[in-house]
């Protein structure tokens, strides 16, 4: 794009869009004022409803009005701040054609060849391959859509497209810690980027976007670089981020939620392979909390055991005791009839 005529053509397109943007600012101000006015009308209606509710002692209805008024005041505050933002903004002078051409020249000087697609009216710049904290993310194409420049107050007019994508293992849409679905979340650079675009300073715009792409903010990424490659579940191979992985203290591997469990007695995390099971209540158990029934030797949790015996053995023992008790009673009756004979008269005597 070394032809000066081409630069003038692009500059002309940019200038046309910036003229539209200037008008859009007034339209946006009008829209925000209408929204604020609508919300004010709604709050007046709510105040009438509140007065009616109070006159009838309908306190439940009054509470409902209060909730609506609370929501509306938040909305009004938002719209008023937007109105103020647009109203106090000084009118931007549309840059001259020569200034825009100079800017495009600077852009080429700084970053080499820029692409201009006449059909889609896009200006693009390709960054060098980006590596952040030893994580290779590849080169990005910063693509500014001139047609969308006039919609700057509603939508972002550019995209950051990964040309050799190395997305986060847990989310293919995230090609950079601050890029999702080809959209850059500008963070600290938001206001400066908007101002640069409003003033037609394209070189500054591309430099700022490039600066964000070359910087990692660990406090607020879509996916942190620490989790970029994810971690495969040792059992099923599912790629998970570290916040959602579970470490089995028994086999010392990481597992996904599906493949892990925990001991119901001590709450130790375990994989499903290492977790034992209480054969009575069937709840998972770790080896430390698994007890054996002293009688039959089955594995049980502590709460299912009573005097080191499982409920089955207790039942059996009770049944045996009952049986032996009956037998003893029967034997006694048979073996010592004299006692019953002696007792009967006593009862008789008592009666």
């Amino acid at each position: 794009m070394d032809d000066i005529k081409n630069l003038v053509k692009i500059a002309n397109q940019v200038q046309q869009e910036l003229l539209k943007l200037r008008n859009c600012r007034y339209l946006e101000l009008l829209n925000q004022m209408r929204s604020a006015s609508d919300k004010l009308q709604e709050i007046i209606t709510e105040s009438k409803k509140l007065a009616l509710s109070l006159s009838h002692s309908w306190f439940s209805a009054a509470d409902s009005c209060c909730s609506s008024i609370d929501r509306l005041t938040s909305d009004i505050t938002y719209y008023i701040s937007r109105v103020k933002q647009f109203a106090e903004k000084p009118r931007e002078e549309t840059p001259t054609l020569s200034a825009l051409v100079e800017d495009l020249k600077q852009l080429e000087q700084e970053y080499g060849k820029i692409e201009f697609d006449k059909a889609t009216k896009t200006i693009s710049l390709i960054t060098k391959p980006i590596t952040l904290d030893d994580v290779y993310l590849g080169p990005f194409k910063i693509q500014l859509e001139l047609k969308k420049l006039s919609e700057l107050y509603r939508d972002s007019p550019y995209y950051c497209i990964a040309l050799d994508p190395h997305p986060a293992a847990t989310n293919e849409e995230v090609t950079h810690p601050h890029v999702s679905n080809d959209r850059l979340c500008e963070g600290e650079g938001c206001a400066a980027i908007r101002t640069a675009l409003e003033q037609g300073r394209l070189c500054d715009f591309f430099t700022l976007v490039k600066s964000i792409l070359n910087t990692y903010s660990p406090d607020s990424p879509y996916v942190s670089l620490y989790d970029w490659d994810g971690e495969p579940c040792y059992d099923c191979g599912y790629i998970m981020d570290r916040d959602n992985s579970y470490y089995c203290s028994s086999c010392e591997h990481s597992f996904c939620e599906e493949c892990s469990t925990y001991c119901r007695s001590c709450e130790e995390t375990l994989c499903r392979g290492c977790a034992g099971k209480c054969e009575i209540c069937e709840e998972p158990l770790c080896s430390n909390c698994a007890h054996k029934c002293a009688e039959c030797g089955i594995c049980c949790c502590e709460s299912c055991l009573e005097d080191d015996l499982c409920p089955n053995c207790i039942k059996e023992l009770e049944a045996e005791n009952e049986e032996s008790g009956n037998q003893t009673t029967g034997t006694n009756e048979n073996s010592n009839p004299s006692q019953s004979e002696t007792s009967t008269p006593e009862i008789k005597l008592a009666g």
Binding site: D103, G189, A192, L208, S211
Partner: protein, 75 residues
Amino acid sequence: MRILYINNDGCGYADYIDVAENTTVEQFFMIKMSGKDAGDYMIRVNRQPVPKDYVLREGDRITITPTKVEGAKSL
């Protein structure tokens, strides 16, 4: 003397300001970006890179753009 100062740090703005005669780029940066490291910024005068001892002149256009800007994620 009067120069055009474009600061792309923070909110970003462009305005004509008065500076003392014989102010170098380094002095200008220290005044305007006190406490900041010049290495973290791309400084251009009239769209060109200049040495730090470049003396600003009437009508110059100086741009200071951060090369480290922290992005975020959508809320």
